[in-house]
Amino acid sequence: MAERRPYIHPYIPNSVPTVRKSMLDAIGAADVEDFYADIPDAIRLKRPLDLPVPLHSEAELTRHVEGLLSRNTSTRQLLSFLGAGCYQHHVPAVVDEVVNRSEFLTAYAGEPYEDHGRFQALWEYQSLMAELLETDVVNVPVYDGFQATATALRMAARATGLTRLVVATAIDPDKLSKVADYVRPGHELVVVPVDPATGRADLAAVREGLDGGDVAALYAESPSYTGLIDPALAQLGEIAHAADALYVVGCNPLSLGVLAPPSAYGADITCGDIQPLGIHMSFGGGNAGFIATRDDEDLVAEYPSRLFGLVPTAVEGEFGFGDVAYGRTSFAIREEGKEWVGTAAALHGIAAGVYLSLMGPQGMREIGETILANTAYARGRLADVPGIEVPDPDAVHFADFPIRLTGSLTAERVSEELLRRGILGGTPLADSRALLFCVTEVHTRTDIDRLADTLKEIAQ
């Protein structure tokens, strides 16, 4: 019978018995147990962990994981019209090439010397976003767009010293859940229902919601959860400012080659998710958040996030980087800082920076035009399907758009039937007869026609 091969794990060099022994000898310790002397016996685990049999070799591990991955069917294999907070876009090869570099992928929190590259890439990310957003301050990414919105609202509350937060446009119920949790201590969150027929903000109701005069922020989205570019976005800013509230706008940065940056129509704080900017969807792992403001000392003081700044060095003509106003962070002063800061989503920021560098002003305009055109075309095609109504036909949508089923089909049934025909699509909305579809630059006319034809087939 073959003897068991000695097991030295490739991830653990000093498990070689002679090395282990020589190190213990060097310290003068008899056993590794000596180092655990402070852990009381009563709480020691007296048995091995009950874990599956390990797959020691890379070959075995790969085979096992491959078996699991084979039970996924990706958007490369199916035609997907899913959006609603996570978007299928083409990720340029250069973005992957850069973010997969070991130097970036495995770095963490070095100083601005040995990690100069990370600081420059993230400062450039801040700067590229700033050009897109027309703001002078953008943070190092926070976890995701939900967190960015929640923090932007708390920043507004701190900056104004007020506590009411009013939501004016359609918002993802999951995002609302996150925001409601996050602003619970000491804030009042008011959601003004949108016009049920069109999904547009109800300006009269918003005005009423701001009547109390104690409103810290009015929050709107462009596009809204249902993909609507509400034509009243600029008026909402005026309403907010007339009530001495800050205007906080969540936006999809990918739309800003064709749509005005929110700061241009009055936003005091802009926030959102950068996943559309060259970051793979990864089943929801690609989200990352941004917050942007004008360069106002009082607003800058309210950011919890890292803000990298460009500075000269001791050598003439050389530049370096550092943290701007570090003293406001929880790293500096624990609970006395603004909210908290920690590891979040920096590499996604680098990805977005590479993406914007590749896109340039032309690329951003063109992708916006293609998405607007595809969205309009898809809305038109789906409106022609019997049993489907596309609300508010004159409205402008970006990527996401809702449809309503007028026949006997439910939203869930439509999704199931589409999947049977190789199509992913339709995010069911609160109304069980309404669904959200999404198109981007990756969709061709043939794809959209196929969706419309398939829905026609299902409706019959």
Partner: protein, 532 residues
């Protein structure tokens, strides 16, 4: 006939490959790379975009024309315009000016568990069957990834001893916040909302204090006693009817394990509070002791630390929270359910704290952490822990031989997976600060981190060697520190003005604090400094 070559005398000794010096003659890449805004020229393109289909364009015209002028972009964003290979070259140069963990003996980033992130796990997550999955896909099309999430929850439940696990938090601090949110929801559900105080320790990560405060709690911070352990008398004085929870790390960031942890937990429980274990420092105790065994109600792991996922310049990371059955109703939604044949997402959880982030977590890192645990198994996890602790105590043994360094607290006691040292003596002798020494270390191709603020340990340095480094690596690292300390005594100016062989020299930090000069973006820099 060829010209005679100039004659260089060669001794037999020179003809051999020179023996390498004990310390590297390192120099980091210094490309003197411009800012991206100074590169390229108008009209260049990095990528091309599919144009609308002609028939589509003809049918829809310019949809934006229907928008009010104020909502249309009239001035293009002032983004740079570069050809594709210039963009690539720029960012590759920046990458070379960055010292990833894969390239250095990264034991100096204490508290961060800079272990090796296996490359094979990166391959898994680049597969389109992870990277190109939409989170709203029909459950039937994502059974594989749901299975991975569900299995990983089970593995971490066993490793922590907890009943249920969520993998939704985006990183460690988000996991702390998630635990605090669950604690708040628990007392609200019990009709006990008066519990508005959270107790933590100064050697626990600042996010314990900061997340508690953000969630509306008053924070009480325990300081160490003379031996460096959290002060149990201070804890007894702090607990009461307003105590919601204790948030504590063990071993703390000093590497000291608090042997009275069960007593801490009991004191808080007796006062009616919950106990939440920040397991950022779990790497040395995998398979040795578990959160549940010490009586904790909640815990969290940083998957980018203990479970090997890459640190990615500061995220994306991943956090995991474990809870007892009693707290399970409050877990973020959805949870992954399994009926023996099919995995589903359970969103119908009325007592849930709700969403902590979009969708289900940083899925690529969940896949990596799953693969890492599967590659090691129970025996391997324990081996990782033991070797991490051996490495730490070995490095300590080497470092404490260096002039000017000491290790405050718990004299003569071992440390678990990391150690916090002090250069107080060296500072007294030379006037140099710990930061200066860390920057000089960059000249030898590595670095170290001091500690979180406030510096309770004066002139701190926190080293955590993990299980990933060989004895030779640790010897090299200790030799670098010894050389830097020697220079501090013999040639302090070299240390004071370091780094010399890094990408850039010391920055002038003053402008970072002054609103008139700080420049968070190129736009701000243009306006403030260039006057454009």
């Amino acid at each position: 006939m060829s010209a005679a070559r100039p004659s260089v005398p060669v001794s037999p000794k020179d003809a051999r490959i020179a023996v390498k010096p004990r310390l590297r003659r390192f120099h980091q890449a210094r490309w003197d790379e411009k800012l991206i805004f100074e590169l390229g020229s108008p009209g260049e393109r990095g990528v091309l975009i599919p144009a609308p289909d002609p028939q589509v364009a003809a049918e829809v015209g310019d949809p934006a024309a229907a928008l009010p002028t104020a909502l249309r972009r009239t001035v293009p964003p002032a983004l740079p315009e570069l050809s594709q290979n210039q963009v690539l070259r720029h960012y590759l140069r920046l990458s070379q000016e960055n010292l990833g963990a894969d390239l250095n003996i990264d034991v100096g980033q204490g508290t961060c568990t800079m272990k090796y992130s296996p490359k094979v796990n990166d391959q898994f997550v680049r597969d389109p069957r992870i990277a190109e999955l939409h989170p709203r896909q029909h459950e039937d099309t994502v059974q594989g990834v749901l299975e991975i999430v569900h299995r990983l929850e089970g593995l971490l439940a066993e490793i922590s001893g907890m009943d249920r696990v969520t993998l939704q938090p985006g990183a460690g601090s988000a996991a702390i916040y998630t635990n605090v949110a669950m604690i708040r929801a628990y007392f609200a559900a019990k009709g006990d909302p008066e519990r508005d105080e959270i107790i933590t320790t100064i050697f626990s990560h600042p996010s314990n204090a900061a997340c508690a405060k953000t969630a509306g709690f008053k924070v009480i911070t325990l300081h160490p006693d003379a031996d460096g352990y959290p002060d149990i008398e201070a804890l007894k004085a702090a607990v009461g009817p307003r105590t919601a929870a204790l948030l504590i790390t063990n071993p703390e960031d000093t590497g000291i394990y608090n042997p009275r942890i069960e007593e801490f937990v009991r004191i808080v429980h007796e006062a009616g509070g919950l106990c939440s274990y920040d397991q950022a420092n779990a790497n040395g105790i995998l398979g040795i002791t578990r959160a549940r065994d010490a009586g904790f109600d909640l815990c969290h792991f940083n998957l980018h630390k203990t479970f090997s996922t890459p640190h990615a310049c500061g995220g994306p990371a991943a956090g995991a929270c474990g809870v007892t059955e009693e707290l399970a109703p409050f877990l973020p939604r959805p949870t992954v359910a399994y009926d023996g044949s099919r995995y589903t997402l359970d969103d119908d959880r009325p007592d849930s704290v709700g969403k902590m982030r979009p969708f289900y977590g940083v899925v690529p890192n969940l896949v990596r952490a799953y693969a890492w645990i599967m590659a090691l198994g129970a025996e391997g996890l324990r081996e990782a822990a033991e070797i991490a602790v051996l490495n730490n105590n070995y490095l300590m043994h080497q470092v404490l031989k260096i002039r000017g360094v000491s290790m405050p607290y718990a004299a003569g006691r071992p440390r678990v997976e990391q150690a916090r040292y002090s250069w107080e003596q060296l500072h007294a002798d030379t006037g140099l600060h710990s930061e200066d020494l860390g920057l000089r270390a960059a000249d030898f191709g590595t670095h170290y981190w001091t500690s979180h603020h406030p510096y309770v340990v004066p002139e701190p340095m926190t080293l955590e060697p993990t299980e990933s480094y060989s004895r030779a690596d640790l010897d090299e690292y200790a030799a670098i520190l010894a050389e830097v300390a020697r220079e501090a005594y013999e040639d302090p100016e070299t240390v004071r003005t370091a780094p010399h062989r890094s990408t850039v020299h010391r920055v002038k930090e003053d402008s970072l604090e002054d609103p008139a000069t700080w420049a968070v973006t190129w736009r701000a820099y243009r306006r403030k400094v260039l006057g454009a």
